[in-house]
């Protein structure tokens, strides 16, 4: 055990407080803005804490009254949920067999490497033909079209996670089932998939986070409430002539809640997922 001088201990706590403040201050301010009356936010000197907390903007954004800020927000919330859900489901369905195949038959691994290498591609390198293609298919401004495009981001990532997940399940267990006469599908159903369930869940949550965060394709390929996602709706609010900054902050808090909750719940799995790739290279 390393001995620590009192000065060093004080130094450690001071640094820890500083780090906590750096992380929390902007987030706390986002929340305070969302519950401060508009007059407080425009006051000079600025009022850092509202005289009376005002949660009315949350009700306003979640209401579905026609032509209100709420209607635009709730429809974008629904679109984000639909697009993230569909894209995640499709990505996992593609990734499970492909990840297993690469894990058990390394000789086909180069094709997965190629798929993963597409991570380097800037989305702008695909955007023009994708725009023309979606337009030709009549899928511009459409949640199905957007979900399909999101596979460019989600599918390589989930396949890579699934492959490393299957790598940690010993082949011998599968081989034993096969010797006992189980076919491939039966082996998957009884042995492999139950063992891989945590990895499937982690991959799916990562995919949801990626889809929820996506902005570039959504900006290009959606134009109104039928398909605009939350990120585009918030950018609209931030860039538009909204006079109440508290409303923008409220939209930000609501959009951040699902991924932040996923992040906190999944902490351990997320960190090991992030670092396993890092360590293996």
């Amino acid at each position: 055990m390393e001995r620590r001088s009192p000065v060093f201990t004080v130094f450690i706590y001071a640094c820890a407080l500083l780090l906590a403040a750096v992380i929390l201050a902007p987030l706390a301010w986002l929340f305070v803005m969302s519950i401060s009356p508009a007059a407080d936010l425009a006051a000079k000197p600025l009022r850092w804490w509202p005289q009376a907390a005002d949660f009315s903007r949350y009700a306003q954004l979640l209401s579905r009254a026609e032509n209100s800020a709420g209607a635009a927000f709730t429809s974008s919330l629904r679109n984000s949920l639909e697009v993230a859900g569909m894209a995640t489901l499709a990505a996992v369905v593609l990734a499970v067999p492909a990840g297993w195949a690469v894990s058990r038959t390394p000789s086909v691994g180069w094709s997965l490497s190629m798929v993963i290498a597409t991570y380097m591609l800037p989305p702008v390198a695909l955007s023009v033909p994708l725009y023309m293609g979606l337009s030709w298919l009549g899928l511009l401004n459409n949640v199905f079209g957007l979900a399909l495009i999101y596979l460019t981001i989600l599918a390589p990532f989930t396949t890579w996670l699934m492959k490393s997940g299957f790598d940690s399940i010993p082949r011998e267990i599968e081989a034993a089932a096969m010797i006992d006469g189980a076919g491939l599908l039966q082996t998957w159903r009884i042995i492999t998939l139950p063992l891989a369930a945590p990895v499937v869940a982690t991959s799916a949550l990562f995919a949801v986070l990626l889809a929820w965060d996506e902005f570039f394709y959504a900006l290009l390929f959606t134009s109104d409430q039928r398909a605009k996602t939350l990120t585009v709706a918030i950018a609209d609010l931030a860039g538009g002539r909204v006079s109440d900054y508290g409303l923008i902050a409220t939209a930000g808090v609501l959009a951040a809640l699902p991924p932040v909750l996923i992040g906190l719940v999944m902490q351990r799995a997320l960190i090991s997922g992030l670092t396993s790739g890092g360590v293996k290279g």
Binding site: P26, L46, S127, F216, L220, A249, G281
Partner: protein, 294 residues
């Protein structure tokens, strides 16, 4: 079971993924290459073959050079700052103190915050009339008048870099922390007994464990920073006076705002080539680091 059947079965299982990837990545990429040699518009005309005209036009334009410099500045400064702050935070979190687990949990928050929400949050903080930064600095008497942090070419890029760092240094910290926890305790203890000072312990005992994971984080963050679009689009749209315009924003403007699909495609491929060269050079470096660390 025979090897050929195993391989055939593997290909069959990969087929759905590969078909989708060819449809949404392979074909668009090939079509971008084709478009880059034409004068096609985004809507309407299919365009005629124009050879390398788009490439020479884009590469010799002052817009491209200036944007390349801006993007490089953004990538180099923000990634360097994220690595340094991230490692320092990880070294702190590797110490024992009360509340460490809570602080480590907090690090997830900026990372989980959607990029667009982060950009919006900082845009509000930097607001020239009501922003918290102006209010805090005037109340502390550090500045006399409210400033337009994002509205002046001198401060806009720096303001963006701060916002980007705040979101991304925690990820570097978490990766570095995981690597630090893999350092065997008896090795650091032995170095201490041998009389190694804090700097030498970091340089010779801890850094070799950090090097591999940090290199990977460096590669990923650099590629991301070079492709940057979202945070800049939401905070400044590349302004003021194009002082924060990144390469991705330049491509967006060319292909979608001006609807010049052909020259936009050529520009996109130039960017892709730059990122690829960067990634390949880095990959070589990673292999070297991994080789020397073990």
């Amino acid at each position: 079971m025979s090897g050929t059947w195993m391989t055939t079965r593997a290909w069959l299982l990969m087929l759905p993924l590969l078909v989708v990837m060819v449809a949404v990545i392979g074909w668009p990429l090939a079509d971008t290459v084709r478009l880059s040699f034409t004068d096609a518009q985004l809507v309407g005309t299919a365009g005629n073959y124009v050879g390398f005209d788009n490439y020479t036009k884009m590469l010799t334009s002052s817009n491209f050079t200036r944007t390349l410099v801006t993007t490089t500045w953004f990538a180099v400064i923000s990634v360097a700052a994220e690595m340094v702050i991230g490692v320092l935070a990880a070294l702190l979190l590797n110490q024992e103190f009360r509340g460490r687990a809570v602080l480590r949990g907090l690090m997830i928050l900026p990372w989980a915050l959607p990029t667009v929400v982060n950009a919006t949050l900082w845009r509000l903080i930097y607001n020239p009339e009501y922003g918290a930064l102006n209010a805090a600095l005037t109340q502390l008497h550090l500045i006399d008048d409210y400033r337009s942090w994002l509205g002046e070419p001198g401060t806009a890029l720096a303001a963006l870099i701060v916002a980007d760092c705040w979101k991304n240094f925690p990820l570097v910290a978490l990766i570095a922390l995981a690597a630090l926890q893999a350092v065997p305790r008896d090795i650091t203890a032995a170095a201490l007994v041998d009389g190694a000072g804090p700097f030498n312990r970091f340089r010779f005992v801890i850094l070799p464990y950090l090097a591999g994971p940090l290199m990977v984080a460096l590669v990923l963050r650099t590629i991301e920073a070079f492709k940057v679009f979202d945070i800049i689009w939401v905070m400044t749209r590349g302004g003021p006076a194009n002082s924060t315009r990144s390469l991705s924003i330049l491509v967006y403007q060319e292909a979608f705002s001006f609807q010049r699909a052909g020259s936009g495609a050529s520009l996109a491929l130039i960017v892709t080539l730059l990122v690829t060269v960067l990634a390949v050079a880095y990959a070589a470096l990673v292999r070297k680091t991994a080789g020397s660390a073990t």
